[in-house]
């Protein structure tokens, strides 16, 4: 009979989606053998398993893959490297001492004592309730991801006549997915005056199927006692408030919500690390270390990404850093330079950059952020105090596409102690 097992692990990685997988591979390649990846699902791959559409891997593999194919690349590599992964395991508690309690059907209760922890739990979807959309609470309301799971992992259709709220990529992808499987998608309503999805998806998921995209619109009522019978969509003003008199009723049996992703940080908060209200993830330095030594965060749990390729890249960095931490290979830091959101910039990651005593330890730093609205023909500027140290011209920037720029190792080592600000200059 399995008793409570106390297990020492050098690097514990929570989540075997693209983030956790990349971190594990990097940690192993850096020389850690005693590592373990835990995942709550029965199979590795995270959300990619249900993302059967293509568009993944263009940057990383220079080919366009579907989600499962992208995941398989990491699955194969992890198998090659003999990286231990324990599936169907839920981490239910973790503490600042890096003790993680997990439970699984196969192993019972396990307490892992980790030297380093990589948090890669991904994100969840914002539900209808959090938006307080008025109306009834019948069957037939799904977050787009849950509907996607039913369709792509179970082969069930959640509905026949569908309205979608939210024109982010998940909503757009599901518009097409449902249509191809015989549903009628009546409209995609989007609160903002612009879509946060890729143009490619607007064209190939909405235009291709004559599904109207209603910008500056939102759902103001849901009706139907047991099952959705219809929703009311209204136009919104500049303050995003519904305009009376613009209400239109859409008889339907399904409402899909694609209204925001929220990093799943319950465990992160248990570790009492510093959190960012903007990204809703941990505050990290450029090695993805949180405010706690030996605790790293990467992927969607840190900040919601658009491209899985960048998740992999970021997480590889985190995995390597976790390994270096355990192996004592981390360079001595001379200063931690804060990075702040300037005009037009939302959620810069990392929020701190390490400056090393030994310049040879420095690496290039990729800074990522989102613009607060659509910009055309602007310059992204990084200021060291008040001095510009990097300027990049951007023809177009949109909140739906995470922006990034690279600060070279040399630049980083030459920064003053004033701290950096990233801003958009028109």
């Amino acid at each position: 009979m399995t008793g409570m097992r106390e297990i020492d692990v050098d690097v514990l990685i929570i989540g075997a989606g693209p983030a956790g997988s990349a971190a594990a591979i990097a940690a192993k390649e850096e020389g850690i053998d005693n590592l373990l990846v835990l995942d709550r699902e029965a199979e590795i791959g995270g959300i990619l398993k249900q993302c059967i559409h293509n568009g993944f891997g263009l940057h990383r593999f220079h080919e366009e893959l579907t989600g499962p194919e992208y995941a398989q690349r990491d699955i194969d590599r992890m198998a090659e490297l003999n990286i231990p992964v324990q599936c169907s395991t839920m981490v239910i508690d973790i503490d600042p001492g890096k003790r993680a309690t997990a439970i699984s059907r196969e192993h019972g209760v396990q307490v892992f004592h980790a030297k380093a922890v990589v948090l890669a739990m991904g994100c969840r979807e914002r539900p209808r309730g959090a938006l307080a959309i008025p109306g009834t609470r019948p069957a037939g309301i799904f977050s787009a991801g849950t509907a996607q799971k039913f369709v792509n992992m179970h082969s069930y259709m959640p509905g026949k006549r569908v309205v979608i709220l939210g024109s982010g990529d998940i909503g757009l992808i599901m518009a097409r997915r449902m249509t191809l499987q015989g549903a009628k998608v009546l409209a995609c309503a989007e609160l903002m005056p612009y879509s946060s999805g890729l143009n490619r998806n607007i064209v190939q998921c909405l235009h291709d199927y004559n599904i109207p995209l209603l910008l500056s619109h939102t759902v103001v009522d849901i009706r139907g006692r047991e099952r959705v019978e219809g929703v009311t969509i209204a136009k919104v003003d500049q303050k995003l408030q519904p305009i009376p008199g613009t209400e239109t009723d859409y008889p339907c049996d399904t409402l899909l919500l694609s209204v925001g992703l929220i990093p799943e940080n319950e465990l992160t908060k248990q570790m009492r690390v510093e959190m960012s209200a903007v990204t809703q993830g941990a505050v990290v330095d450029d090695t993805l270390q949180t405010s706690a030594e030996g605790v790293f965060a990467c992927g969607n749990v840190l900040h919601v990404h658009d491209l899985v390729d960048f998740v992999s890249e970021e997480s590889a960095k985190a995995g390597k850093a976790a390994a270096d931490y355990v192996l004592g290979k981390r360079g001595a830091v001379q200063a931690m330079l804060p990075v702040k959101d300037g005009d037009g910039v939302c959620g810069v990651v990392p929020q701190r950059i390490r400056q090393y005593r030994d310049a040879a330890q420095a690496t290039d730093v990729r800074v990522m952020f989102r613009p607060d609205r659509v910009y055309q023909n602007v310059t992204v500027q990084v200021l060291d105090g008040t001095v510009p140290v990097r300027s990049v011209k951007k023809r177009i920037m949109a909140p739906g596409e995470m922006a990034e720029l690279v600060l070279t190792a040399k630049t980083v080592q030459g920064l003053s102690a004033d701290g950096l600000t990233v801003r958009i200059v028109p």
């Binding site: 409570m4 979807e125 539900p127 307080a132 082969s155 069930y156 249509t179």
Partner: protein
Amino acid sequence: MKRNIVIIGGGVIGCATARELSAFEADVLLVERAADVSEGSSKANSGLVHAGYDAVPGSQKARFNVQGSRMFEAMCKEVNAPYVRNGAMVLAFDEQQIETLRELKEQGEKNGVDGLEIIGREQVLALEEHTNPEVLAALLVKSGAITAPYELTYALADHAKVNGVDFQMNTEVRRIEKTERGFVLHTSRGDILTDCVVNCAGIGSGELHNQLSPRKVKIIPRKGEYYLFDHEIKPMFAHTMFQTPTKMGKGVLVTPTVHRNIMLGPTAKDVQDGMDVSTTKEALQMVREKSTLTWPKENLKTVITTFAGIRAHEAGGDFIVGAVEGAKGAYEAVGIESPGLSSAPAIGLYLAEMIADNFELKKKKKRIPAPTRSKPFSEMTNEERLEAYQRDPAYGTVVCRCEQVTEAEVRAAIHRPVGATTVDGVKRRIRAGMGRCQGGFCSPRVMEILSEELGVDLMQVTKSGGESRVLIGRIEDEKPEGDDRHA
């Protein structure tokens, strides 16, 4: 086949009455219109166990509230339902309101309520630091408590069931006819003949009463809307925080739940349709605005859901509990609005004793105790978790991440004496789906377990019975709907 006693309505009142009657030698059937018990007013209310200072002295509300409030803790313990005596406060922001507090205190003492004290501003803020600093005084109600009204209703139903009460769901009583043979209940599933009928039909109780009694009543459905926040280790408020009451009711309150969520609400709006529990923009806005009087720093960032409940307000303003006037053998609990939940133990006992007396029912020598409920996994220590797992490996699979509910508990919810047969039934019994992701992660898993346990295809699983199927078909069954699909 003639029944002895049929209870109409599986809310907290019907189930409390069923449970009390199950102490007697009698054939008892409870019929419920929905697919499960606790689907009406009992599932969506503030969950408060009122002390009883608010009811008019001499009224049935006062009598049953105070008695019920005194019985509540023991009853919850006996049936394994949650109960927290967190205390309440009624806040006063001006002199006139302070005067009202004094009146409430006096009224409460007249009703027999103990532990009422008027406290000053400093004490209020010392007890509840997030209260609006403009508060002047408060009535501290030490016996105020909270429960989870649906968990209680399920627990009462289970206890009644193991002691012989039959439950029949999906049975709507449309008409009651008094004949020489007894009462004929014309239901959506055929006729039922019974000696004794007990009308605990909540929002529908007025209609049924009027079919039986020459003295007519009028039920005015009164809707109340709420915000529910994510739970935290230490909620912003420990006490249930009232504002000084008005004619429409006890006003918007800020209260913790037994699961450490904060809840704001309710409003009170009379509606035409007793089944209308939709939320509205106006009422939710009102809840937000009014609750800031108590909690000025409230921000809606961690709201996880909103909901509405319905109350059966009787035009006369009081409960109508007892024998039905002009219909021998018929009993009722009509117009059960606040403090209905608090009164449930007392009403159940009163009706049962009255019925037992009139029908000369023999008391059973022994009653089977309520089914024990394991401690929720989410509250267990690691040692307890290990032990639970060793007993049942299904504890090893966490189904609901947000509320830490395991597969073992989902299955147990389905196997309870009055077990869950729907997604909502599982949700309200063991909280899977009540957390911050509102079922986004767990609902496919809960549905799979329901499908397995009930022996039905995943497609047949419903949210709350009836036509509320979650899925509409399998992929291969769906054909594209016509050719206006692409440009």
